[in-house]
């Protein structure tokens, strides 16, 4: 090879490297970035290369966090599990926490909008409680900041479980088998609102997503996910802009954004002055861990298919002053869409190994 040819080759490689590093690579006719397309073409021979620093952003934590005011113990988790599955914590005695946070539906309910004791459809879709231990803002509108606070909200909400906390405590006290469970979990503290809610929070902290194929790939097993899924991971982080909000190992920034859905529900806006325009129609970014490919999607369950969801993000959502600045119209090729879906499939791990409690 002559020096001139070598120089041209080197210059071309340099341009590609700089383009990739700056994230401003031009797009090829099929809509993929040149760097992504390049990676995709190379994949057949040597595999998709994903930088380690990008992978590191998605590595799972080593331990479960818990507040010093309510340290996590097996006894609290066991008591909390029993309460979680007990429908007597609802006004009618027919709805438990697990009715909407059903283990078989990845701790959600698979419905467009949840239904509680009154049968009136709730205004928002039921979120999963998986990985709730790490949440810094709970509920779609962030009106609770700890799991202990949050545990009271569905119990007392008229259309969810519809029971006053005092009545819930009274009912639990009247069930003979609960006393030893409370004594084991909270020695000498008795059956009180605080111990009841603390136990529910503790059990939920133990609900941590099982290792998904994606996690094994992040840990170095290149065979854990397909080449298409690896390309989808790049789409997720680059052309698709998904990671702007669906960040971290839980695929959420625990933050609030108006993604431009048609809805009269102003979400977080209820808790902000009207002058804080950015919070109008803003809802918390949901996790994508154990993502249910069958939907429904969005805070209001308004979308039934992933195609509809991707179309929404390509469009960029309803243009209004509160629309999140992170919402920018995107264009994905058919291949990129397929890769993105293949990637999302890798986020689902096996069901949790949770033994159902025998209610006292």
């Amino acid at each position: 090879m002559t020096d001139t040819r070598l120089f041209i080759l080197l210059a071309f490689a340099l341009v590609l490297t700089i383009g990739a590093a700056a994230g401003v690579a031009p797009r090829s006719p099929d809509g993929m970035t040149v760097t992504s397309a390049f990676v995709g073409r190379v994949s057949a021979a040597v595999g998709v290369h994903v930088p380690d620093e990008l992978k590191a952003k998605y590595r799972r934590p080593e331990s479960i966090p818990a507040p010093s005011s309510n340290p996590l113990t097996p006894e609290k988790a066991e008591l909390g599990k029993t309460l979680f599955f007990d429908p007597r914590l609802s006004r009618t005695g027919t709805v438990s926490c697990a009715s909407c946070h059903n283990p078989g539906f990845d701790w959600g309910d698979g419905l467009k909008r949840g239904v509680g004791v009154t049968g009136v459809p709730l205004p928002r879709r039921t979120p999963t409680v998986l990985n709730a231990a790490w949440l810094s803002a709970l509920m779609w509108d962030g009106r609770a900041t700890t799991l202990e606070q949050q545990a009271a909200l569905p119990i007392t909400a008229e259309h969810e479980m519809g029971l006053e906390l005092e009545e819930a405590v009274a009912r639990v006290k009247a069930i003979e088998g609960y006393a030893p469970l409370f004594e084991a979990a909270y020695p000498g503290e008795g059956i009180r609102t605080e111990t009841l809610l603390g136990a529910l929070a503790s059990f939920q902290r133990t609900l941590v997503s099982a290792e998904a194929p994606f996690d094994r790939w992040i840990d170095g097993d290149e065979a854990a996910i397909s080449e298409s899924a690896k390309r989808g991971f790049l789409v997720f982080n680059e052309a698709g802009r998904c990671s702007k909000c669906h960040s971290s190992w839980r695929f959420t920034d625990d933050s609030f954004h108006d993604i431009g859905l048609e809805s009269g529900d102003i979400g977080r806006g209820q808790f902000a002055p009207p002058s804080v325009v950015i919070m109008q129609h803003a809802f918390k970014t949901p996790t994508l861990r154990d993502f249910r490919m069958s939907g429904p999607y969005m805070h209001d369950g308004s979308m039934a298919s992933l195609d509809e969801v991707i179309d929404h993000y390509e469009d960029g959502g309803k243009k209004r002053p509160s629309l999140s600045p992170e919402m920018q119209a995107i264009t994905l090729s058919a291949q990129e869409r397929a890769d993105l879906v293949a990637y999302l499939r890798t986020l689902q791990g096996p069901p949790l190994d949770v033994t159902l409690p025998r209610l006292p």
Binding site: T145, S255, H257, A282, S324, P325, E326
Partner: protein, 118 residues
């Protein structure tokens, strides 16, 4: 001549008032990195101007809650944008982001006339 003397008198009084109210207002810059604010160094006093410099790759909307419960909102800051406010109330003060509740910083705003913390 009389006008000049009057103007000089007004200026002198203004200067005297300014000196009697302690140090002049200072300017501070606090940088936003991704999901956190720079540690706030030094003392901040009522009347000081604080500029928040968004050097992250995402939009933020900071707000300050003063010790009397009143709130100043800085509006949305896309990456690269700086926004400033003048501190209004002395006492424990909290800076948070509407979009990202995980961002939180606390400081104590001093009275304009409070002695410097040695």
């Amino acid at each position: 001549m009389r006008r000049s003397i009057a103007a000089l008198a007004v200026a002198t009084i203004a200067t005297a008032l300014s000196l009697s109210s302690g140090a002049s207002a200072a300017e501070h810059t606090v940088v936003l990195h991704h999901m956190e604010l720079d540690k706030i160094e030094g003392e901040m006093r009522v009347g000081d101007v604080v500029t928040f410099d968004n050097r992250s790759d995402m939009a933020h909307n900071l707000y300050i809650t003063y010790s009397d419960g009143t709130v100043d909102n800085l509006d949305t800051q896309v990456p690269g944008v700086k926004r400033s406010l003048t501190l209004r109330v002395a006492g424990p003060t909290v800076i948070r982001c509407w979009i990202h509740p995980i961002i939180k910083s606390e400081l104590v705003v001093l009275d304009r006339d409070a002695a410097a913390d040695k």
